[in-house]
Symmetry: C2
Subunit: 156 residues, 2 copies
């Protein structure tokens, strides 16, 4: 598990390295979008990033911001919080439970919380600080048995 420094300068160096490795052009747009994301401490949406970038590149297009963000996530220089995809999902389960999310096929399945609660309860208190934690939900990312079997058969 390689820890990546959050220092903008280091991250920018990582960005340049990754671009060279993959033969990607280091355009002004990519550089500025990355700088903007690093400069914000929060979790901005594409639109918020677009607004910030426009201050420095007034003629940039929204499309470019979307494409650049995708690229930056692909090469691992910025992150994208775990999401179930574009559309809202619904589920029969109304009590505390967690999710297994297959990174291959996207299928989501439930994990009951049961005795796990005991493991996390102290963590909830610890993480609280000045944030009052009321509940939590864990997203487990991995490969489901179906996709693993498929990969084993060589379909990759």
């Amino acid at each position: 598990m390689s820890f990546q420094s959050k220092e903008p300068a280091d991250r920018m160096a990582l960005f340049e390295r990754r671009c060279r490795e993959r033969g990607l052009a280091m355009t002004v747009q990519r550089r500025v979008v990355l700088e903007v994301v690093l400069a914000r401490g929060d979790h901005p949406t594409a639109e918020q990033i677009y607004e910030d970038v426009k201050l420095r590149i007034p003629d940039i297009s929204r499309t470019t911001v979307y494409r650049v963000l995708d690229t930056l996530v692909d090469i691992g220089v910025i992150g994208k919080p775990s999401h179930f995809g574009a559309a809202t999902r619904y589920e029969p389960n109304v009590h505390r439970h967690h999710h297994l999310i297959c990174i291959e096929c996207g299928r989501v399945s439930d994990v009951e919380d049961d005795e796990t609660v005991a493991d996390i309860e102290p963590l909830m208190r610890k993480q609280a600080g000045d944030f009052a934690v009321l509940d939590y939900s864990i997203h487990f990312h991995g490969v489901c048995s179906a996709c693993a079997a498929q990969a084993r058969r060589g379909d990759i």
Copy 2:
């Protein structure tokens, strides 16, 4: 922490009770949308639910499905997995970390994982089963200090 049975019959009884308590009409649409969500073991999108419901109520409108789903979540008879909202978000953080999500203002902040990993590692293995867990991320839901302060001042 009240545990709600997932048995369709029980859930339907709960639905009827909640509707009566709140003076909500028990329409065919609400009943069928609920039945459809309970009948599916997965985490369907509104569109998938709409398709299923249309088999039984061919003239139902998409709008109604959206509105009914909202209502069913409100009265707690179905769930909606934790989501950061409509738009995709991006973040500087690329290593394992978790999120505090304020249920009042929607602001998201990071929680470093650090020693927490040790607490969860056995859980990752335990939950695995035939699902190969590669990573996980915890969403903590609660009230941030700013919103708590605001509530204390009576702005609720």
